[in-house]
Structure formats: structure tokens, C-alpha cells
């Protein structure tokens, strides 16, 4: 098994600074959903990771911890992560994207 980045929507959606998205070396990997967290009353939306594209470098963790100072990203084992985003479940809208979550190991 291997590590991928996982973003805590609760923490991210409180500010949604969008920094990590600009620093991930991989394209189309940290995406942004304007509506994420709304069900919990958080209004800014959240970043999320398409884990099938993530190479596990943890650069986003450094950026969120040290530049954004939000500590919203953790590296987690792909089989421990539960439901998460995969490229095949991502849809793009006008100014946002959205992912229907699925289990990356069981499908």
C-alpha cells in the first residue's frame, strides 16, 4: 500500500485559501469544489485530492502547514482512507469542480 494526500474538508472549508492547489506538482490532482462543506454550514468550499493522480510527495502538506498554516492535509494509506475522489468521478462546472466520492480500493 502507499500514501496519498487527504484533505480535511472541515478545516479547509473554513478558509479555502487555494494555496496547495497551486503547488501540487501534478496537474488535475488537487481540485477545488465551491460547494464542499456547505451541508456543515461552511461557506467557502474545499480543496480535494483525486487520489489516482497523487504521487504521494507531501508537498501539499508542507504548503498547507507552513505557508497557509491551516494543517488541513495528512498523508494516509490508500486502503485506510475510506471514500475519496477519483478522476473518473470528477465533473467540471463553470467555476468549480465536484467529485462523487468512492472507495479507491473497493471501487
Amino acid at each position: 500500500m502507499y500514501l496519498v494526500a487527504n484533505i480535511d474538508t472541515g478545516i479547509c472549508a473554513a478558509t479555502s485559501c487555494k494555496l496547495c492547489t497551486q503547488y501540487c506538482p501534478e496537474a488535475n490532482t488537487i481540485l477545488y469544489d465551491n460547494e464542499a462543506g456547505q451541508e456543515k454550514g461552511l461557506k467557502y468550499g474545499s480543496a480535494y485530492v483525486a487520489v489516482d493522480r497523487c504521487k504521494g510527495c507531501a508537498q501539499c502538506v508542507w504548503v498547507c502547514d507552513n505557508m497557509a498554516k491551516h494543517n488541513a492535509i495528512k498523508m494516509e494509506m490508500i486502503d485506510q482512507i475510506g471514500d475519496t475522489a477519483l478522476t473518473e468521478n470528477v465533473t467540471y462546472g463553470e467555476k468549480t469542480s465536484h467529485a462523487t466520492l468512492a472507495n479507491p480500493v473497493r471501487g
Binding site: 497551486q22 496537474a27 493522480r53 507531501a58 508537498q59 470528477v90 467540471y92 467555476k95
Partner: protein, 296 residues
């Protein structure tokens, strides 16, 4: 080359892979996209085999996002790590033999001008420091002296990364590398100075820990190369493998190196300033009102 080449052939849409459909429908073609919007549209760089956490990968990603007109852009590369990613973007990519990239780009740029006349087609070379300052040195310099109108971007990881750690002309003096065990014997080459002497109209150094700045220099370099003359960007894009930088410390390294010896610098000729101000609305290059100049 135009918006037409990213359309579906009628009847084939439903057979295209999801990534392709996303790119046509939600990609940057024909739109004004900025780095601050990444994560909300489909980027045209696809998956590639460059190492996890490589700063060169991040730089290439940002550069591709920053192309002012991706639908009218051709990239040129050569042997070295960068081409593994550059070739995986949805813009035409030409592979020049190792060191030939600026020669190939010269011919390509001239050919495109003959074929398309005034309609700008942007040619952007991205190659490693070895390919550009050592093996391709003569062709790089000649393309500048000959005022070939395209952008040259050095992916400067200060080593031959793709072949396991030989020193290049851009490696710092005394640096020990896997295949330079006694340390490098001469100074890092001053390619920025040479670019200016050879007549580049825009020259900049940049480090990818500042994505908006990467965007800004790429846009200026590509636009200036359309009409005014050759442009050169030298980007510090560390090799975390050969310099043993832990991947979660790559941005920390970029910050340290930027502060220490790779400070942001920008050189632009008056002609290029005037052109950017008049044609593309760059306010910072508009002529200052007389009162401001005289300090009244």
C-alpha cells in the same frame, strides 16, 4: 493549429475518453485562464512519469497554465527529464535531438510565420541546463544572436538529472555530485548575461515557489517573442533525486535558494516594454506622466 483542433469530430464525442472530453469542454482553450483558477478547470497537462515531488514538474505545470494562447502554441524539447511531462500536454510537442532544440525552434518559428503570416503562433522551448548550456550551447546562442522570435526556458536543476547526476555548466562551483565526485571545478555559467549580450528582449529568473510570478514571466516572455525578439527564462527547478531533497522539503529548498542565490530578476528592453503596454495593456510599462517623472 487553432481552436478547431480541440473540437470533437462530429459523431465521435461519445467515444472519446473522459479526460479528452473534459479538456474540450472545460479546458483553457480560447479562454483567459489564470494560475489562481487551477483546480476548477481541466488542465491540459496529463499524467507523466517524472519523479514524485519534482520542482521541475511543478514549474512545467505552471508554465503550461500560463501560456497566453495554448491553442496556438507549440513546445519544443529535447532529451532530459522535462520532456517526459512537456510531451504529455495537449499542445503539439516537437522533440529536437539532444541540444538541437533552439535550432529546431528557429526553423519552426520561421516556417510558422511563412504559413500563418501575422497570426501569432507561439513557439516555446523548454529544456534542461545540460541540453541548453552545454550540448546545445551554440544553437541556443545563435538563435539569440539571430533574433529568432521564440521563447527559451531553461529548466535549471543544476545537474544532468535524467542520466544520473553528471555536472553541467550550470552546476555551482565545488558541488559534489554522484558522477562529479571531486566537485565541479568552474563557476556556474552566466547564461543570463549572455542572453542580454546576445540581444534577448526579455530575460528573467524565477523559482516555482511563487506560482503567480511564474505565470507573469511566462506570459511576458511569450508575448514579447511574438513581435519583438528572443526571450529567455531561467527557472530554478531542483532535482530532488540528485540533490537528495526530501519531497516534502522541495518548496522549502526553493525558498532558501531563491533568497540565497536565485533571486527574482527581470530585464526588459524599452521596445518590449512599449509593446506590452500598447498591445496588451501592461500598466506598469505605460509611459509615466511627465509630472511623475519630474517628481512634481
Amino acid at each position: 493549429m487553432s481552436l478547431d483542433y480541440v473540437k470533437f469530430t462530429p459523431g465521435f464525442e461519445k467515444f472519446m475518453p473522459k479526460e479528452y472530453r473534459d479538456m474540450v469542454e472545460h479546458g483553457p482553450f480560447g479562454k483567459k485562464i489564470s494560475v489562481s483558477q487551477v483546480g476548477t478547470f481541466k488542465e491540459i497537462l496529463e499524467e507523466h512519469p517524472m519523479c514524485a515531488g519534482c520542482a521541475m514538474t511543478l514549474f512545467i505545470r505552471l508554465a503550461v497554465v500560463a501560456f497566453p494562447n495554448p491553442e496556438d502554441t507549440i513546445t519544443v524539447g529535447t532529451a532530459g527529464c522535462g520532456r517526459l511531462a512537456i510531451s504529455q500536454a495537449a499542445v503539439p510537442f516537437v522533440y529536437g535531438n539532444y541540444g538541437d532544440q533552439n535550432g529546431v525552434a528557429s526553423g519552426l518559428t520561421r516556417g510558422l510565420r511563412l504559413r500563418f503570416g501575422d497570426q501569432p503562433k507561439d513557439v516555446v522551448v523548454m529544456a534542461g541546463d545540460g541540453g541548453m548550456a552545454d550540448i546545445g550551447f551554440a544553437q541556443t546562442l545563435h538563435s539569440w544572436f539571430r533574433k529568432e522570435k521564440f521563447t527559451t526556458i531553461m529548466l535549471d536543476n543544476e545537474v544532468y538529472g535524467n542520466t544520473g547526476g553528471q555536472e553541467s555548466g550550470m552546476t555551482n562551483k565545488n558541488q559534489v555530485l554522484k558522477m562529479a565526485p571531486l566537485g565541479k571545478k568552474f563557476e556556474k555559467m552566466d547564461m543570463l548575461g549572455m542572453a542580454k549580450v546576445a540581444g534577448c528582449a526579455y530575460v528573467a529568473t524565477v523559482v516555482p515557489n511563487n506560482p503567480r510570478r511564474v505565470e507573469s514571466v511566462i506570459k511576458k516572455a511569450v508575448l514579447v517573442a511574438r513581435e519583438i525578439g528572443p526571450t529567455y527564462i531561467q527557472a530554478y527547478t531542483s532535482c530532488n533525486i540528485e540533490y537528495a531533497i526530501p519531497t516534502d522539503k522541495v518548496m522549502e529548498d526553493a525558498k532558501t535558494v531563491e533568497t540565497d542565490r536565485y533571486k527574482f530578476s527581470e530585464y526588459i528592453t524599452d521596445e518590449a516594454k512599449d509593446y506590452l503596454a500598447q498591445l496588451y495593456g501592461y500598466k506598469e510599462y505605460l509611459p509615466k506622466p511627465v509630472a511623475a517623472v519630474e517628481g512634481k
